[in-house]
């Protein structure tokens, strides 16, 4: 049975949840791809997402891998269109309207109101991610070290993630 329609539905829906970034959609991404459709396991999703943080460009391109696993190259393409299509069309329309909205007072209200919501959703995504990724003293130490180093020094996060891969390979 073709999974293409399900891929379109799932990723188009997830697309609309990515307020403030891809992580906001993570809890639903997990439920839909792992629990509902069994396209991959939770550890696989965690690993793909983490690998995606090392890739350049938009940080949700890992969805391409899910599409490819489920339905080959066509699946990969379908997932990109479904995930980025709705928000891109919205951005195109709002971008043109925004100029005309000019000093519409609700513009700032929406911006101020969405800031805490998007940070809350980012944290919520992080918690549901950490439930699988942080499972003991070693992983907790790696997470804490990465967090502290990033706050203290200006360093490219991709390098830290690479370093964590080496630490992981040596210790686990």
């Amino acid at each position: 049975m073709s999974q293409i329609p399900a891929l379109v539905r799932v990723f188009a829906y997830l697309s609309l949840l990515t307020v403030g970034g891809g992580m906001a959609a993570f809890p639903e991404l997990k439920i839909l791809t792992v629990d509902v459709h069994h396209w991959l396991t939770f550890p696989q999703l965690i690993h793909l997402y983490s690998l995606g943080q090392m890739a350049p460009g938009p940080n949700m391109m890992m969805i391409v891998a899910i599409g490819e696993w489920v339905a080959g190259l066509l699946g990969a393409l379908v997932v990109v269109v479904a995930f980025f299509g709705p928000t891109s069309i919205l951005a195109l329309l709002v971008g043109r309207l925004w100029i005309r909205l000019g000093k519409w007072p609700w513009r700032e209200s929406i911006q101020l109101g969405l800031a805490p919501v998007s940070i809350g959703l980012l944290l919520a995504g992080c918690l549901s991610f950490a439930r699988e990724a942080v499972v003991g003293l070693e992983t907790a130490s790696i997470a804490a070290a990465t967090f502290l180093i990033l706050l203290r020094w200006k360093i490219n996060p991709a390098l830290l993630i690479l370093a964590a891969a080496v630490v992981g390979a040596l210790t686990f």
Binding site: G20, G21, M61, V64, A65, L114, S118, A143, L151
Partner: protein, 188 residues
């Protein structure tokens, strides 16, 4: 301020190439910094004011900042086709890379060494996301009410397992109403 900025000229190929370059080099997140240096400093397609304005539109909409910016900037420069050129450019390098990584991972992901390395990578990703949340929070949370909205969103999703969509709509509308336009002098 009296003269509207001259419409910068850019061909579709130039737009595609610039976003392709950004899409191929912006390692480690923080695509915004790469966008600014490419679009404002190097190409001069936008001034800082329009860059910040487009960025604030990107951040107020669903969708990733990086792809929303590619759409908005591409559209400013060359209409719908420019938006498409920017979007394809910024997605192509990471997309192809993740396609290959995904295929490799599917074949070899269960080797013990790969599993161990990925365990480290996933833990580091948690640290990275937390750091991002804190940095964003320090920049944009100014009011006690903001902390309440953050907490309600987290508890709603993680504790009560509400769908992200529900939380987004309910808390988003409440927070927007909280910051509703008021006459000057009576801000919350």
């Amino acid at each position: 301020m009296t003269n509207p900025p001259a419409a910068p000229s850019a061909t579709l190929l130039q737009i595609f190439r610039e976003f392709l370059l950004i899409g191929a080099t912006s390692f480690g997140g923080g695509v915004v910094a790469y966008l600014r240096s490419g679009l404002v400093e190097k190409r001069g397609w936008l001034d800082d004011r329009s860059f910040v304005e487009l960025l604030s539109i990107s951040q107020s909409l669903p969708g990733l900042n990086s792809t929303n910016m590619a759409i908005l900037v591409g559209d400013r420069l060359k209409g719908t086709r420019g938006a498409l050129a920017g979007f394809v450019g910024i997605c192509l390098p990471g997309g192809i890379l993740m396609l290959l990584v995904g295929m490799l991972f599917h074949e070899h992901g269960d080797y013990p060494l790969a599993t161990a390395a990925l365990k480290g990578v996933a833990a580091a990703a948690v640290g990275l996301i937390l750091a991002t949340a804190l940095q964003l929070g320090r920049k944009s949370l100014g009011h006690v009410a903001d902390v309440v909205f953050v907490a309600v969103a987290v508890i709603g999703v993680n504790r009560f397992h509400l769908s992200v969509l529900t939380v987004l709509l309910v808390v988003g509308v409440l927070a927007t109403l909280w910051y509703r336009p008021r006459p000057a002098g009576s801000a919350p």
